[in-house]
């Protein structure tokens, strides 16, 4: 207890100023005066009295020194001196210092930013969710499968499941995500919605910001709505009396009952604006939704009872699920399922998404950049140390212990690391947000800006880096004794070996990064150039949801009017009205060949379209012709265009043009529809993972002749610009084309493909970014090391020049050492990369991870760049003035 007290007062003493020491001076003066007075009383003269007093008190300076030492923590003064020395050394070598700090900052921040991304994706629980470990998302898979996906089921099955598994599961909450238009006309917006089952908020255990959240025991009528904190702020100005106000969603008006807590925006990728009772949305879509087992679109969350083992709950729930669900396969059999009570968050799903796989690989790879930066900084420290070797030798000669010298270099590394840590944190706070924006889906659930773990991690990494960096050069340099030619030369030689090792290491670590960049470049290029028989990268899909707005009968005419307006816009090449499109979805319908079995198996996708569809899509004919405007009339002869997959299925190996198909238009209504053309490939849902032979069969029909097949309408617009550039204006023009339109949705036709390109783009951009950093670091390293070699051997080179050496040979000699180190590094790096690329196997497209050409290209590029980096500073050797060189001491 006393020891602790002493330590604390000493710590305070160390940190607080010198007041107490000033007071001591005063105390000592008083003491001297009193002593002198005493002596004066005994009859001594003034001077004699003062002298005697001084003698009795003893050395004032020693007393003050002893007092100081007692007052403060031991070792602090020595540390302060170390700091001063280190700071002075760092300032003197300003170039090296700035370079080292920049390198470390780059290395540490790249690691920390990616660690932050991975943390949000994989580790952080969703914010605001109560006891998140008990909240699970339901996934299912066939009993023998190994790729569970999110469960999609119907209400009655989920209700039976909840009843059957009630011993382990407190509640199951069915829900689905939906985008709902709000309002009409120019001010119409679209909101991201969750339609929630009664127990939804019970399962999540949220505390509302305002109002009362609905629950199984706090039921609400179907006109209730819960809004997000963000929507409350934006749409309602954050007023406290928002409860009871109304919000129009589609054709209904909802009353706000609660505001979600700040920062909670659902448990899915897109931030949710509103939560609407399930009944409100389902009643519109499927009136018998509570009892029907026909089809379902409901996902589910569950809350485990406290203390229940997840595996046990899963086993029982699986049993119950298999007993209650009545879904049948096409052949009438009932498959056996496995239920998984998986993680809530997207990044933690039972089957890792490609994006997560890439991010994990990249997170690991980013540490390579950190290692490279450390290697380079280590080199810089050694070089700056070598330049100071005579100073160190002098210090050693004057009695500085080896430990003291070691500490000085370590402190130097530590200062660098601390500054770099501050820089890295600043990067994470600023650039980190940007990087997250690129790398992550919006991740509504874990959007908090920064947490303590990140700060700890950054400082931890920096401290470790400082230790690693400081220790090797410190040991090397502190071995300095008195400068004698022999040991000094040996020391230089061993330092050079260390420097070469660092150079090799940097080059080696760059190889995997460059190989990764190459692999993703090739993958993305191949993915973007897959031949779908159509070119849709300049097509935008536009759709206004009249059904949800309560006036489905206006959908056709309004889309025609939008089409007429859009066609007049500059930059718009063609517009086609269709029944099925990315914004709307598609449907499969019974279609049979004229002769042949009439079964439902793999029903073709059917789309009714304008003839301009073929222009918009840049469709390619494999046989026959497209249908014409004349055939696009309600009374025209029935004609169809099919794709190769359908032709192949119905009439394998035979011509399709001129054949008859039957399109189901209602009971007892089978009439011949003549196939007039076959389009190449043309899948309905394009996917780079599908081989052309696996494309779905597609039937394309004239929309005015087959308008009754579906009430849904959308427009496909071909523009000269990319959808990204054209989309905002297209949407605005479409919204204004007809008065009081519901919200007009516009999205790139290829949006769905985005999820396939995205991992590749992601991989490419990260690997490219890291490679660029790595190259900068490696080039700097190679150049610095060669330049140092030139400076160190200037005298030797001068002598060689005097003796008649060819300057060109000397330049090569100087560059050679660096280049040899680099070549060894390249070989090691190739092995490293070969060992590591396997991780990417599952995300690459159309290229083998161990592609020899890519490896060769990466190594050649590095060798070329590295040679230039070594050669440029080496050229200085050729320009050495022999007479000047010989004057160097």
């Amino acid at each position: 207890m006393t020891a602790l007290r002493v330590w604390i007062t000493r710590l305070v003493g160390t940190l607080t100023g010198r007041r107490r020491e000033d007071e001591l001076r005063e105390e000592l003066e008083t003491h001297l005066e009193l002593l002198a007075d005493e002596h004066r009383r005994r009859g001594l003269s003034d001077d004699e009295a003062r002298l005697a007093a001084r003698r009795e008190l003893g050395g004032v300076d020693q007393t003050r020194e002893a007092f100081r030492e007692t007052r403060r923590l031991p070792g602090v003064d020595a540390l302060a001196q170390d700091l001063r020395f280190a700071w002075r050394a760092l300032r003197r070598d300003r170039g090296t210092t700035v370079a080292a700090i920049l390198l470390l900052t780059i290395g540490v921040s790249s690691t920390v930013v990616l660690a932050d991304v991975l943390d949000r994706l994989l580790l952080r629980p969703p914010t605001h969710v109560d006891d998140p470990a008990r909240v699970r998302r339901l996934y299912d898979d066939f009993a023998d499968g190994d790729r569970p996906g999110r469960l999609v089921s119907n209400y009655i099955t989920l209700e039976r499941l909840a009843q059957g598994a009630a011993a382990e599961i407190e509640a199951i909450a069915p829900f689905f995500n939906e985008r709902i238009g709000s309002g009409r006309g120019p001010d119409a917006t679209r909101l991201e919605a969750v339609a929630f089952g009664p127990a939804y908020f019970d399962v999540l255990g949220l505390t509302p910001r305002l109002g009362v959240l609905p629950g199984a025991r706090r039921p609400v009528d179907e006109n209730a709505v819960v809004i997000s904190h963000a929507l409350w702020q934006q749409r309602f100005g954050g007023v406290p009396d928002v409860i009871g106000k109304t919000l129009r969603l589609g054709q209904r008006t909802h009353t706000i009952v609660a505001v979600a807590p700040r920062g909670f925006a659902g448990v899915d990728d897109d931030p949710v604006d509103v939560w609407v009772p399930l009944a409100a949305r389902m009643n519109l879509k499927q009136p018998d939704w509570r009892t029907s087992e026909r089809y379902g679109l409901l996902s589910a969350l569950a809350r485990l009872r406290p203390g229940i083992d997840r595996a046990r709950a899963e086993a029982h729930a699986t049993q119950v699920y298999n007993a209650v669900h009545k879904q049948q396969m096409m052949d009438g059999s009932r498959p056996s399922y496995r239920l998984v009570l998986g993680e809530l968050l997207a990044g933690q799903e039972p089957v890792r998404s490609q994006q997560t796989t890439i991010l994990i690989a990249v997170g690991a790879v980013s540490t390579l950049v950190l290692l490279m930066a450390c290697g380079n900084v280590g080199n810089l420290l050694i070089l700056s140390g070598l330049r100071r070797s005579s100073e160190l030798a002098l210090k050693a000669a004057m009695g500085a212990t080896r430990g003291r010298l070691l500490r000085e270099v370590l402190v130097q590394a530590l200062i660098l690391a601390l500054i770099a840590a501050a820089g890295a944190l600043a990067m994470v706070l600023t650039a980190g947000g940007l990087v997250r924006g690129v790398l992550l889906p919006p991740l509504a659930a874990t959007a908090a800006p920064i947490d303590a773990r990140l700060v700890l991690l950054t400082t931890g990494i920096c401290a470790a880096a400082a230790l690693a960096l400081g220790l090797v050069p410190a040991i090397r340099l502190s071995a300095t004794r008195v400068m004698t030619p022999g040991p000094a030369a040996r020391r230089q030689a061993s330092s050079s070996r260390l420097i070469d090792t660092f150079v090799g290491l940097q080059v080696a670590l760059s190889v995997p990064l460059l190989v990764g960049t190459g692999l993703f470049t090739v993958s993305l290029w191949k993915a973007l150039n897959v031949d779908f028989g159509q070119k849709t990268d300049r097509v935008t899909s536009i759709h206004a949801d009249f059904a949800d707005d309560g006036r489905p009968q206006e959908e056709h005419a309004s889309h025609r009017r939008m089409q007429a307006h859009l066609q007049t816009l500059p930059g718009v090449t063609a517009v086609a009205m269709v029944q099925a499109a990315p914004a709307v979805g598609g449907y499969a319908a019974p279609v049979w060949p004229e002769s042949g079995p009439r079964n439902n198996e793999g029903a073709p996708f059917v789309n009714a379209v304008d003839p301009s569809y073929f222009t918009v899509m840049r469709a390619r004919l494999a046989a026959g012709r497209f249908f014409t405007e004349a055939e696009n009339r309600p009374t025209a002869r029935r004609v169809a265009v099919v794709n190769e997959a359908l032709a192949q299925r119905f009439w394998p190996g035979q011509p399709a043009v001129g054949r008859c198909i039957h399109v189901y238009e209602g009971p007892a209504h089978f009439t011949c529809t003549e196939v007039v053309g076959v389009v190449a490939r043309a899948p309905f849902f394009a996917s780079i993972t599908l081989a052309p032979k696996d494309f779905q069969p597609v039937v394309l029909l004239p929309i005015e002749r087959f308008g009754a097949l579906s009430p849904r309408r959308a427009l496909l617009v071909r523009t000269e610009a990319t959808p990204r550039a054209a989309l905002p204006r297209l949407r605005q023009e479409a919204q204004g084309a007809v008065p009081l339109l519901p919200y007009v949705d516009a999205q790139p036709f290829d949006q769905a493909m985005d999820s396939e390109y995205r991992p590749l783009r992601l991989g490419l951009s990260i690997f490219f970014g890291l490679s660029a950093l790595a190259l900068v670091i490696a080039i700097a390293g190679l150049a610095v090391v060669t330049a140092h070699g030139v400076t160190r051997r200037t005298r030797e080179m001068g002598i060689r020049l005097v003796l008649g050496a060819n300057p060109g040979d000397l330049v090569r000699l100087m560059a050679r050492r660096t280049i040899v180190a680099m070549a060894i590094g390249l070989a090691v790096g190739a092995v490293l990369a070969y060992a590591g690329v396997g991780v990417l196997q599952s995300v690459l497209f159309g290229v083998e991870p161990a592609d020899l050409r890519i490896f060769a290209a990466a190594i050649a590029a590095l060798f070329l760049i590295g040679s230039i980096a070594a050669y440029v500073p080496a050229r200085r050797t050729g320009r050495i003035d022999p007479s000047a060189a010989l004057r160097i001491e």
Binding site: G58, F67, T70
Partner: protein
Amino acid sequence: MSPPAAEVPYGTLDLMVLKTLAAMGAQHGYGIARRIEQVSNGALALNQGTIYPALLRLEQKGWISSEFGTSENNRRARFYSITKAGRKQLDTEAELWARTVDMMARMLEPEP
């Protein structure tokens, strides 16, 4: 001839200071030094400056406390006084010291 004045044995200065403060009440550094010299009756050569680190040490341990006051010659001086914890410590140390002295005395008794 009186025996030469001895150095202060290591570790005893703290005890002397505590005892002085316990006996005399609040004192400044000079007063404490004078008192120790008087009590030792010239047997102790005290370098008076050394009591200041000792006073700080005792204060850090919480055995004495200090405050500013005015000395006899009208100067500002720091006055030290013993705390409750200090008195307890003094008792413990004094007993330990007595036992040590007793033991040493018996050790050094001339052989019969």
